[in-house]
């Protein structure tokens, strides 16, 4: 019994990480109806940036966040302003194919630069610290911190969206681009800010991923798929729904892994497909796709 409680608890905690993968994706889709296929590879890029920062400056991964987050935000702003803004429009093909091309470029660029060696960021003793919640159930400190940060990030994004001027700009542009421009918003700037924010969240997610597990240039697409599944399960356009979606995905994978280690990923995918079959709009939808 406690074994299953343990399993579910671990699933919930990693669900927070998946929710962070998904939050950036959900944000961009909400504001500009763009699905960034390079999202997973950008997470891996953030991990490698953190690797470079920690190696050259000799600081810990969590401290490196102070540098990595702004760096990725700037990259996001430039990416949107210079490249992705050109793809936005009614046609479905350009943003999809351009972000797909970007995904391949990032993967192979990282492969050329860093080789296919598996890397990991060392966070020190915090990685293996655990504390006991109750009889037979332990919680790792790092996963708990990641979960709390994930919830905080999503709460922060909600606050930003609904209580700040930038959030008003996001919502206005999302509702009607043309009228938002009439109201004086520079939509190119708004989109770029949305992408910058998304990449900032990606940076946090990437560093957490790098501390938690090994990473190499090829693991990007799998992160994209987890984020995507979390978004669809939770429902498009809802941040808290994305958190729930991530948790459901994490728990499914944990239960699958407990039944048979080879079933971990498959269990997550099957739960996703089942929810897609039964309730395609997700659990808490706000925006129609």
């Amino acid at each position: 019994m406690t074994a299953w409680l343990n399993v579910i608890l671990q699933g919930v905690l990693i669900g927070g990480l998946y929710a962070m993968f998904a939050a950036g994706l959900s944000l961009i889709f909400g504001v500009m109806r763009l699905v960034n296929i390079a999202h997973g590879d950008l997470i891996v890029l953030a991990a490698y940036v953190a690797l470079m920062v920690t190696e050259t400056l000799g600081i810990g991964p969590l401290t490196s966040l102070l540098l990595v987050v702004p760096a990725m935000a700037i990259i996001g702003y430039a990416l949107q302003r210079l490249l992705l803004n050109r793809t936005l429009g009614d046609d479905l093909l350009p943003p999809l194919l351009v972000t797909f091309g970007l995904s391949i470029i990032i993967q192979n660029g990282l492969l050329e630069f860093f080789t296919a060696d598996s890397r990991k960021l060392q966070a020190g003793a915090i990685e293996i610290q655990t504390f006991q919640v109750m009889q037979g159930v332990w919680v790792g400190l790092l996963p708990l911190i990641q979960f709390i940060v994930a919830v905080a990030v999503i709460a922060g994004l909600q606050l930003l969206f609904y209580r700040s001027a930038l959030g008003r700009a996001f919502r206005a542009t999302s509702d009607d681009q043309a009228v938002a421009q009439l109201m004086g918003l520079d939509t190119r700037h708004v989109f770029a800010m949305a992408m910058a924010l998304s990449l900032a969240v990606i940076a946090i997610a990437g560093v957490f991923l790098a501390v938690r597990t090994n990473f190499d240039p090829a693991i990007g697409p799998a992160r994209l798929i987890f984020g995507f599944e979390a978004v669809i399960i939770g429902g498009l356009g809802s941040m808290w729904g994305t958190l729930v979606g991530g948790i459901i995905l994490g728990v499914s994978q944990a239960i699958g892994a407990q039944i048979d280690p080879g079933w971990q990923l498959l269990a997550g995918h099957i739960v996703f497909l089942a929810i897609l079959a039964v309730r395609p709009q997700g659990l808490f939808p706000k925006v129609s796709g």
Partner: protein
Amino acid sequence: MSPIKIRVEHATVSSRIGVAIIAVVLVVLALAPFWGDRQMLRLLAEIFTFVALASLWNLLAGYAGLVSVGQQAFVGLGGYLLFALVILAGVHPIAAILIAGPIGALVAVPVAALIFRLRGAYFAIGTWVVAEVFRLLASQISVLGGGSGISLPAAMVISMAPTRQLREFEIYWLALALTVAVLGAIVALLRSRHGLALTAIRDNEMAAQSCGIGVARIKFIVYVLTAFGTAMIGALIFLQKLRISPDTAFSVNDWTAFVIFITVIGGIGRVEGPIIGTIIFFVMRQTLADLGSLYLLMMGAVAIVVMLWAPQGLWGLIAQRFGWQALPLQRHLVLAAKTEEPGGIP
């Protein structure tokens, strides 16, 4: 008043030249075993399979508007069906290829029912998820090698033909025949009423719907037909490779990234596009030494540049500039009025 007779003409000067060139090229290619060496035959067979895969993807994405980054699901499915039928049921490899098609189409039906609930880019990622599920399921099947894969038994390969040279000729002609069949089917489809509907959907989906075209139904049928063709090509690819594993069978890079880049660079939404794109792709691959990941990087960059500044691709640019077509697919309305009384409508 006399009725104005109209008829639809498909051929133009350029298409007549194009068809003639294609006919000559096909004859030359059919005789390739007599003028080419082993490497040339393998290269040509690889080119054929990419032309077929890209043409099918073009039908799906360029005409029906279903951008799938998960076609590797059916390539791998075809490959695994070949190995399963040959190893477990003792079916002749060529028969297995022909069986893989209908089974692929059958599998595509529930898959389509599921992922058609998603739209646009989410649909694209959904197809990727399906491919991942297929890959994970394949690595669970231990009788077909599980995660490390399996090779085709020598006895079954030898049963195809008595000598190795004859076997290679057989596989080559099979590749050529399958590719010609796929392209022929695509051209036939586009010449038909359904092709007209598809072309309308390609140009403007909403307008097509308002003309009464059943867009959802046509998309479903195109998805299933594409899965049919892709599964057969997948089976052929792995017959040539003689070995399969989940990672190679369901590889995004090999079966989707290259196919997408080929189609985008050659010209999406036109039948000639994938053919041109494949030629460019292989010329680049042969002339540029094996740069590995740098090569993929360059292709990605070229694809992005093409998508942003020349979204109609190379053949699209040519067709727009000169109005050429290599295959008789256009539809010209020709008025041929006949008057029976003087002073009638000229």
